[in-house]
Symmetry: C2
Subunit: 152 residues, 2 copies
Protein backbone atom coordinates (compact mmCIF):
# COMPACT_ATOMS: atom_id res chain seq x y z
CA UNK A 1 0.00 0.00 0.00
CA UNK A 2 1.33 3.40 -0.93
CA UNK A 3 0.27 5.11 2.24
CA UNK A 4 -2.63 7.45 1.73
CA UNK A 5 -5.21 7.52 -1.04
CA UNK A 6 -4.84 3.81 -1.65
CA UNK A 7 -7.40 1.12 -0.99
CA UNK A 8 -9.34 0.51 2.20
CA UNK A 9 -7.60 1.41 5.37
CA UNK A 10 -9.12 0.75 8.71
CA UNK A 11 -7.96 4.00 10.23
CA UNK A 12 -9.56 7.28 9.35
CA UNK A 13 -8.42 10.79 10.14
CA UNK A 14 -10.90 13.31 11.38
CA UNK A 15 -10.89 15.02 8.01
CA UNK A 16 -11.73 11.82 6.23
CA UNK A 17 -14.54 11.03 8.60
CA UNK A 18 -15.85 14.53 8.11
CA UNK A 19 -15.85 14.22 4.36
CA UNK A 20 -17.38 10.78 4.24
CA UNK A 21 -19.98 11.34 6.86
CA UNK A 22 -20.90 14.80 5.75
CA UNK A 23 -20.42 16.53 9.08
CA UNK A 24 -17.88 19.20 9.94
CA UNK A 25 -14.66 18.41 11.70
CA UNK A 26 -15.73 20.65 14.55
CA UNK A 27 -18.89 18.60 14.88
CA UNK A 28 -16.88 15.42 15.24
CA UNK A 29 -14.83 17.04 17.96
CA UNK A 30 -18.05 18.10 19.55
CA UNK A 31 -19.62 14.65 19.36
CA UNK A 32 -16.52 13.22 20.90
CA UNK A 33 -16.64 15.71 23.73
CA UNK A 34 -20.20 14.61 24.35
CA UNK A 35 -19.30 10.96 24.33
CA UNK A 36 -21.14 9.98 21.16
CA UNK A 37 -18.10 8.78 19.30
CA UNK A 38 -14.57 7.94 20.30
CA UNK A 39 -11.10 7.85 18.84
CA UNK A 40 -7.55 7.09 19.71
CA UNK A 41 -4.54 9.29 19.14
CA UNK A 42 -1.39 9.06 17.08
CA UNK A 43 2.02 9.91 18.46
CA UNK A 44 1.45 13.40 17.15
CA UNK A 45 -1.81 13.65 19.14
CA UNK A 46 -4.06 13.43 16.12
CA UNK A 47 -7.34 11.54 16.24
CA UNK A 48 -7.83 8.28 14.44
CA UNK A 49 -11.15 6.56 13.98
CA UNK A 50 -12.27 3.05 13.25
CA UNK A 51 -14.57 2.53 10.28
CA UNK A 52 -17.56 1.97 12.50
CA UNK A 53 -17.52 5.64 13.33
CA UNK A 54 -19.14 6.28 9.96
CA UNK A 55 -21.99 4.05 10.93
CA UNK A 56 -22.31 5.76 14.25
CA UNK A 57 -22.38 9.19 12.72
CA UNK A 58 -24.98 8.04 10.21
CA UNK A 59 -27.11 6.75 13.03
CA UNK A 60 -26.69 9.95 14.99
CA UNK A 61 -27.94 11.88 12.01
CA UNK A 62 -30.87 9.62 11.42
CA UNK A 63 -31.88 9.69 15.04
CA UNK A 64 -31.59 13.45 15.10
CA UNK A 65 -33.77 13.83 12.08
CA UNK A 66 -36.44 11.98 13.99
CA UNK A 67 -36.15 14.54 16.73
CA UNK A 68 -34.11 12.53 19.19
CA UNK A 69 -31.71 14.60 21.25
CA UNK A 70 -27.99 14.01 21.48
CA UNK A 71 -28.21 12.98 25.12
CA UNK A 72 -30.66 10.20 24.32
CA UNK A 73 -28.62 9.17 21.32
CA UNK A 74 -25.53 9.02 23.48
CA UNK A 75 -27.29 6.83 26.01
CA UNK A 76 -28.55 4.54 23.30
CA UNK A 77 -25.15 4.27 21.65
CA UNK A 78 -23.67 3.62 25.07
CA UNK A 79 -25.60 0.36 25.19
CA UNK A 80 -23.54 -0.87 22.28
CA UNK A 81 -20.61 -3.10 23.20
CA UNK A 82 -17.81 -0.79 24.16
CA UNK A 83 -14.85 -0.75 21.80
CA UNK A 84 -15.96 -3.82 19.88
CA UNK A 85 -17.85 -3.85 16.62
CA UNK A 86 -21.56 -4.26 17.36
CA UNK A 87 -23.46 -7.22 15.95
CA UNK A 88 -26.91 -7.60 14.48
CA UNK A 89 -28.55 -8.07 17.83
CA UNK A 90 -27.02 -4.86 19.12
CA UNK A 91 -28.34 -2.84 16.24
CA UNK A 92 -31.71 -4.48 16.52
CA UNK A 93 -31.97 -3.31 20.10
CA UNK A 94 -31.20 0.25 19.07
CA UNK A 95 -33.68 0.12 16.29
CA UNK A 96 -36.43 -1.22 18.51
CA UNK A 97 -35.82 1.49 21.05
CA UNK A 98 -36.27 4.23 18.55
CA UNK A 99 -38.97 2.62 16.57
CA UNK A 100 -41.37 3.11 19.42
CA UNK A 101 -40.57 6.80 19.59
CA UNK A 102 -41.02 7.01 15.91
CA UNK A 103 -44.35 5.24 15.90
CA UNK A 104 -45.58 7.43 18.68
CA UNK A 105 -44.51 10.57 16.93
CA UNK A 106 -46.13 9.52 13.71
CA UNK A 107 -49.31 8.77 15.56
CA UNK A 108 -49.29 12.12 17.28
CA UNK A 109 -48.62 14.02 14.13
CA UNK A 110 -51.41 12.20 12.37
CA UNK A 111 -53.83 12.99 15.15
CA UNK A 112 -52.70 16.55 15.08
CA UNK A 113 -53.21 16.77 11.36
CA UNK A 114 -56.76 15.59 11.74
CA UNK A 115 -57.39 18.06 14.51
CA UNK A 116 -55.92 20.79 12.42
CA UNK A 117 -58.39 19.95 9.72
CA UNK A 118 -61.33 19.81 12.03
CA UNK A 119 -60.50 22.78 14.20
CA UNK A 120 -58.41 25.46 12.69
CA UNK A 121 -59.60 24.43 9.30
CA UNK A 122 -63.32 24.71 9.89
CA UNK A 123 -62.93 28.00 11.66
CA UNK A 124 -65.31 26.79 14.34
CA UNK A 125 -65.63 29.24 17.12
CA UNK A 126 -67.59 27.21 19.60
CA UNK A 127 -65.76 27.29 22.86
CA UNK A 128 -67.23 24.02 24.01
CA UNK A 129 -66.86 21.96 20.88
CA UNK A 130 -63.44 22.75 19.54
CA UNK A 131 -60.74 20.54 21.03
CA UNK A 132 -58.10 22.97 19.93
CA UNK A 133 -59.74 25.87 21.52
CA UNK A 134 -61.19 24.28 24.55
CA UNK A 135 -58.24 23.33 26.71
CA UNK A 136 -57.10 26.91 26.96
CA UNK A 137 -60.52 28.17 27.91
CA UNK A 138 -61.48 25.43 30.29
CA UNK A 139 -58.43 26.28 32.34
CA UNK A 140 -60.23 29.37 33.46
CA UNK A 141 -62.42 27.25 35.71
CA UNK A 142 -60.17 24.28 36.30
CA UNK A 143 -57.20 26.39 37.20
CA UNK A 144 -54.60 24.11 35.70
CA UNK A 145 -52.29 24.78 32.81
CA UNK A 146 -53.70 23.70 29.50
CA UNK A 147 -52.57 20.40 28.09
CA UNK A 148 -52.40 20.49 24.36
CA UNK A 149 -50.76 17.28 23.50
CA UNK A 150 -48.14 16.79 26.12
CA UNK A 151 -45.70 14.68 24.00
CA UNK A 152 -45.98 11.57 26.16
Amino acid sequence: MTGKGGGLRRELTVGEVAERSGVAVSTLHFYESKGLISSWRTDGNQRRYGRDVLRRVAIIKVAQSVGIGLAEIRDALATLPNGRTPNAKDWARLSARWREDLDLRIKQLTKLRDRLEGCIGCGCLSVDDCPLRNPGDKAAEKGSGAQYLKPA
Copy 2:
Protein backbone atom coordinates in the same frame (compact mmCIF):
# COMPACT_ATOMS: atom_id res chain seq x y z
CA MET B 1 -70.99 43.51 37.01
CA THR B 2 -68.83 43.46 40.11
CA GLY B 3 -65.61 44.13 38.32
CA LYS B 4 -63.31 41.10 38.30
CA GLY B 5 -64.15 37.43 38.69
CA GLY B 6 -67.62 37.96 37.23
CA GLY B 7 -68.96 36.66 33.93
CA LEU B 8 -67.35 36.92 30.52
CA ARG B 9 -65.33 40.01 29.90
CA ARG B 10 -63.79 40.74 26.61
CA GLU B 11 -60.56 42.09 28.05
CA LEU B 12 -57.99 39.82 29.58
CA THR B 13 -54.96 40.72 31.65
CA VAL B 14 -51.66 39.07 30.94
CA GLY B 15 -52.04 36.93 34.03
CA GLU B 16 -55.43 35.68 32.91
CA VAL B 17 -54.17 34.86 29.47
CA ALA B 18 -51.27 33.04 31.03
CA GLU B 19 -53.49 30.95 33.23
CA ARG B 20 -56.01 30.12 30.57
CA SER B 21 -53.58 29.42 27.82
CA GLY B 22 -51.14 27.56 29.98
CA VAL B 23 -48.07 29.59 29.08
CA ALA B 24 -46.02 31.78 31.40
CA VAL B 25 -46.47 35.51 31.56
CA SER B 26 -42.91 35.94 30.44
CA THR B 27 -43.69 33.85 27.41
CA LEU B 28 -46.55 36.13 26.48
CA HIS B 29 -44.26 39.12 26.77
CA PHE B 30 -41.82 37.24 24.63
CA TYR B 31 -44.37 36.35 21.98
CA GLU B 32 -45.45 39.94 21.86
CA SER B 33 -41.87 41.11 21.43
CA LYS B 34 -41.63 38.71 18.51
CA GLY B 35 -44.82 39.95 16.98
CA LEU B 36 -46.87 36.79 17.42
CA ILE B 37 -49.54 38.37 19.55
CA SER B 38 -50.50 41.91 20.35
CA SER B 39 -52.16 43.92 23.06
CA TRP B 40 -53.15 47.43 23.99
CA ARG B 41 -52.34 49.22 27.19
CA THR B 42 -54.33 50.64 30.05
CA ASP B 43 -53.69 54.07 31.54
CA GLY B 44 -51.37 52.35 33.98
CA ASN B 45 -49.40 50.81 31.09
CA GLN B 46 -50.64 47.30 31.66
CA ARG B 47 -51.37 44.97 28.81
CA ARG B 48 -54.87 44.01 27.85
CA TYR B 49 -55.76 41.28 25.38
CA GLY B 50 -58.77 40.45 23.31
CA ARG B 51 -60.22 36.97 23.65
CA ASP B 52 -58.83 35.89 20.32
CA VAL B 53 -55.39 35.88 21.87
CA LEU B 54 -56.28 32.56 23.47
CA ARG B 55 -56.92 31.13 20.09
CA ARG B 56 -53.68 32.51 18.79
CA VAL B 57 -51.68 31.09 21.62
CA ALA B 58 -53.37 27.74 21.18
CA ILE B 59 -52.44 27.81 17.52
CA ILE B 60 -48.89 28.79 18.30
CA LYS B 61 -48.61 25.82 20.60
CA VAL B 62 -50.09 23.44 18.12
CA ALA B 63 -47.86 24.67 15.34
CA GLN B 64 -44.83 24.41 17.56
CA SER B 65 -45.62 20.88 18.49
CA VAL B 66 -45.51 20.06 14.81
CA GLY B 67 -42.03 21.47 14.67
CA ILE B 68 -42.82 24.81 13.09
CA GLY B 69 -40.60 27.62 14.27
CA LEU B 70 -41.84 30.86 15.78
CA ALA B 71 -40.70 32.88 12.80
CA GLU B 72 -42.80 30.85 10.43
CA ILE B 73 -45.72 30.95 12.84
CA ARG B 74 -45.41 34.70 13.06
CA ASP B 75 -45.46 35.00 9.30
CA ALA B 76 -48.48 32.78 9.05
CA LEU B 77 -50.34 34.64 11.77
CA ALA B 78 -49.39 37.87 10.05
CA THR B 79 -51.56 36.86 7.11
CA LEU B 80 -54.57 37.05 9.38
CA PRO B 81 -56.56 40.29 9.16
CA ASN B 82 -54.79 42.76 11.37
CA GLY B 83 -56.63 43.85 14.45
CA ARG B 84 -59.91 42.26 13.39
CA THR B 85 -61.24 38.88 14.41
CA PRO B 86 -60.35 36.35 11.71
CA ASN B 87 -63.08 34.46 9.94
CA ALA B 88 -63.41 30.88 8.77
CA LYS B 89 -61.65 31.52 5.51
CA ASP B 90 -58.67 33.02 7.30
CA TRP B 91 -58.28 30.02 9.52
CA ALA B 92 -58.71 27.69 6.61
CA ARG B 93 -55.81 29.33 4.86
CA LEU B 94 -53.61 28.85 7.89
CA SER B 95 -54.61 25.28 8.25
CA ALA B 96 -53.93 24.51 4.61
CA ARG B 97 -50.51 26.08 4.82
CA TRP B 98 -49.48 23.89 7.70
CA ARG B 99 -51.24 20.81 6.59
CA GLU B 100 -48.77 20.38 3.80
CA ASP B 101 -45.86 20.62 6.20
CA LEU B 102 -47.54 18.15 8.39
CA ASP B 103 -48.24 15.67 5.62
CA LEU B 104 -44.68 15.95 4.45
CA ARG B 105 -43.28 15.38 7.88
CA ILE B 106 -45.50 12.39 8.46
CA LYS B 107 -44.38 10.95 5.17
CA GLN B 108 -40.74 11.48 5.99
CA LEU B 109 -41.02 9.97 9.39
CA THR B 110 -42.80 6.96 8.00
CA LYS B 111 -40.13 6.47 5.39
CA LEU B 112 -37.53 6.83 8.05
CA ARG B 113 -39.21 4.29 10.25
CA ASP B 114 -39.15 1.78 7.45
CA ARG B 115 -35.54 2.45 6.76
CA LEU B 116 -34.75 2.11 10.39
CA GLU B 117 -36.34 -1.31 10.36
CA GLY B 118 -34.53 -2.38 7.28
CA CYS B 119 -31.14 -0.94 8.02
CA ILE B 120 -30.26 -0.46 11.60
CA GLY B 121 -32.65 -3.21 12.51
CA CYS B 122 -31.23 -5.93 10.33
CA GLY B 123 -27.68 -5.11 11.28
CA CYS B 124 -26.66 -5.33 7.66
CA LEU B 125 -23.08 -4.41 7.09
CA SER B 126 -22.98 -4.32 3.33
CA VAL B 127 -21.60 -0.99 2.30
CA ASP B 128 -23.31 -1.11 -1.06
CA ASP B 129 -26.72 -2.29 -0.07
CA CYS B 130 -27.59 -0.36 3.03
CA PRO B 131 -29.23 2.98 2.28
CA LEU B 132 -28.43 4.17 5.75
CA ARG B 133 -24.84 3.29 5.53
CA ASN B 134 -24.15 3.99 1.96
CA PRO B 135 -24.40 7.74 1.58
CA GLY B 136 -21.63 8.34 4.05
CA ASP B 137 -19.30 5.88 2.42
CA LYS B 138 -19.99 6.79 -1.16
CA ALA B 139 -18.87 10.31 -0.38
CA ALA B 140 -15.33 8.98 -0.29
CA GLU B 141 -15.34 8.77 -4.08
CA LYS B 142 -17.93 11.39 -4.94
CA GLY B 143 -16.41 14.00 -2.71
CA SER B 144 -19.67 15.62 -1.72
CA GLY B 145 -21.23 15.82 1.68
CA ALA B 146 -23.53 12.95 2.45
CA GLN B 147 -27.26 13.49 2.08
CA TYR B 148 -29.19 11.50 4.60
CA LEU B 149 -32.64 12.72 4.15
CA LYS B 150 -32.27 16.39 3.59
CA PRO B 151 -35.66 17.45 5.03
CA ALA B 152 -37.01 18.71 1.73
